[in-house]
Symmetry: C2
């Protein structure tokens, strides 16, 4: 997608370790899994996203001449290290949960099986991509649950953390159920539907607010959305009514109005009344301005007659939980299970599968994390092969297909987990006995080594 | 810096408004200012950053053939609109506070003076760049204040919000006083010093932790930093001591150790003792793992013998305040002052200057926001011309120069504002009477228009 996708977009220690791996000939198969250790505050589930970008990254992983020249002259490595990197491409396998899948803590959503140097090098960027899109899809799904049937639009580009965050937030929110985005490049590059109205500056650039509305409507005879809170919202709504009847004879239609400040509940009710009494019952009311899923819930519960919402900063920064405890951990090397036992950060080793069981109504009932290939475990296996020997098994999924999956997943979520606050009981995720046995085995490998240095 | 820098990386309403501006021949000079409306939680000041990227963006602003083709065929605009865009370049002036300058709410940090379509189009990306770097520089400055003299390193790439966030966070934290970053591309592209150690996976890929240490140290005879918390931290420190004496005769040096989990205060003290007793008094202790400025302050106050800190997620997401209330507002159009009066979002109109006054010790005493050119106002004007008629007035500032400025600014901050919590009294920022008079004048312009549509 962009030149930022250099393999040098990684942490220095990945290269340092690669150098050590090459020095010691450690190129056996490594298995890494990407998972989230715990739910962020106020979350009862997460929604997987970013796989498409992750696979793009792996398929395109190679050092350019410019990258290699930097490595050679960086003074950080012996010069022969660059020669190892020159031929590095990704030749491994990837298993993953399809995008839009709902998942829970400790469940791997992506597994990489590849020669150690390749699998290790990919860590930083894989996390960077999958963490962020998953973060935003999870956040967006909450607004979808809070405002069913409403038109939700990503307005976040200006306060997204950089260009890529703006683009990927548009993608992640769209796949989670948003109607579209205001970010033009997301429409141009990914086909995401675009929405937009007008800014206060347009009104302010005119001495007369009504004149600004008229000019904007003339430029968009098919149906402009007019921003009415620059000075006095209800007064502006009256101007819209007068303008609409004046323009009607000229075939120009006012599609709706946007509110961006003040008491949105009161203003929406008053504006709705003004529009209805003025013969504009069809005109829509769109609201924006520091909104999030909590405010959407509150406005709709109070009966605010609002048809759609623009959600910006809170969505693209996931402001109430701006990160997930997402990690990418070595689970197996050279055929042996591995895990770390650092305080508070113990992981489950080995190649895993997540099995999901459903209740009679088709809702999620119970997940089981087990060793892959665990025979006889009932349930739907959530991780599927998506890349083999460095090549995708299928073409990219369409965003429409991912949106359908995300929507179906949200419909299958146990009702109490659709809450915007932490719900009890939490969704049950069981660690299968096969996995506990494997963990003991992994610990024995490292424990049995005599402590030679002591 | 990357292909993401298309002018289509903007909000749809910017293009919609441009179309209306072109339709109605509104190409007079507009003045927009970028400022932050209020301090985020627990902040007493902000540090300006991102100007370099903002100027790059303005200098490179143009629609490629591919962009224009999309505009023409998007179905969103009449086809002649693309012809207007074809010749659009930025020909305006920019005034700004130099990067590293400390600033306060309502103070413009960047001003754009340009024909309306150019100035309007730039809004989304200018905010996207300046908001994020300023957010991270402000966050980073807090760690610099909390841990004076300690080596601070950005470890955040994996949980930064996308590629550009990772890179720009490395830049913003470095200019605010960090020693460097782990993000290789930030070193390769911007010359930011790189730091890195090893990951748990390296240790786990070996059956024997001591063997992993030895291999890593052999690969880095100049001085490896060994990660010692994979299994048992103190046991690992003993292994490091044994290894160091074994390797010394071969000319291989262990530079230090890294702790990444557990009770860092207790572990650092115990590890320090083990290293000292083992003849490794020179070996450094580096700590990481969900750190932020609050934890740095706590650890250092308790006397933790830690020489440096890797700070990741909390830094690059500014996790306790993941956004600033940053806006870019029209202040003047066609020679007349403008402002909006939306509830809770009233702005001060006109071209402004910020004057800073100092006390006898050279510390910031008082800022005054006034109309530009306000004669006889004492104090240092903080906004300086940086671009004229679309061209930079000077070459890019070096990061070293910006770091020096940031450091000097932090030293001049009134002592109580260096707190990590909201301090009282807040820094005094005065709205000069000239500005209040201009606001009244701006309101009269819009108020005097008869409400024709009512």
């Amino acid at each position: 997608m962009n030149r930022l996708a250099s393999p040098l977009l990684t942490d220095l220690y990945q290269l340092t370790m690669l150098h050590a791996y090459y020095t010691h000939g450690m190129r056996d198969t490594a298995v890494f899994e990407l998972f989230v250790r715990k739910l962020p505050p106020n979350r009862n589930f997460m929604m997987a996203a970013g796989l498409e970008q992750a696979l793009d990254f792996l398929e395109g992983l190679r050092f350019t001449a410019e990258d290699l020249e930097w490595v050679e002259h960086s003074g950080l490595f012996p010069r022969e290290f660059a020669r190892h990197l020159e031929s590095l491409v990704f030749t491994g396998d990837v298993h993953a949960m399809p995008e839009g899948t709902i998942f829970f803590p400790d469940e791997p959503i992506l597994r990489v099986t590849a020669p150690m140097p390749q699998a290790q090098l990919a860590e930083s960027r894989l996390l960077n991509l999958v963490h962020f899109e998953t973060l935003v899809a999870t956040k967006a799904a909450r607004s979808v649950l809070a405002a069913p049937g409403k038109r939700l639009v990503d307005f976040g580009l200006r306060r997204a953390h950089g260009a890529e965050a703006g683009l990927l937030a548009a993608r992640a929110s769209y796949l989670a159920g948003f109607a579209g985005t205001a970010t033009v490049l997301a429409g141009a590059r990914m086909g995401i539907p675009l929405f937009g109205t007008m800014a206060h500056s347009f009104v302010e650039a005119h001495d007369d607010e009504a004149a600004a509305f008229e000019r904007f409507a003339q430029a968009y005879p098919g149906g402009a959305v007019l921003l009415i809170d620059t000075y006095d919202t209800e007064l502006a709504a009256l101007k819209v009514v007068a303008l609409a009847s004046k323009l009607k004879s000229r075939g120009i239609r006012v599609q709706g109005v946007r509110l961006d400040s003040g008491n949105l509940l009161v203003l929406a009710k008053n504006v709705r009344r003004i529009l209805n009494e003025g013969g504009l019952a069809d005109a829509t009311i769109f609201a924006s301005g520091n909104l999030d899923e909590y405010l959407l819930r509150e406005l709709l519960a109070a009966g605010a007659p609002i048809d759609g919402f623009g959600i910006g900063t809170s969505l693209v920064t996931s402001s109430d939980a701006p990160f997930l405890d997402a990690v990418y951990k070595l689970q197996e090397y050279a055929g042996k299970p591995r895990r770390k036992r650092s305080t508070g950060k113990v992981t489950w080793p080995g190649r895993k599968q997540v099995f999901r069981q459903y209740d009679s109504a088709g809702r999620f009932r119970h997940d089981i994390i087990a060793v892959e290939g665990g025979n006889g475990i009932a349930g739907e296996p959530l991780l599927v092969p998506v890349m083999q020997r460095g090549r995708r098994l299928h073409g990219p999924e369409t965003l429409a297909a991912i949106r359908d999956r995300a929507s179906a997943q949200l419909a299958k979520l146990p009702g109490h987990l659709a809450s915007l606050e932490t719900a009890t009981p939490a969704y049950p995720v069981e660690i299968h006995p096969t996995l506990r046995a494997l963990a003991n085995q992994a610990d024995r490998i490292t424990d049995e080594v005599p402590v030679l240095c002591r």
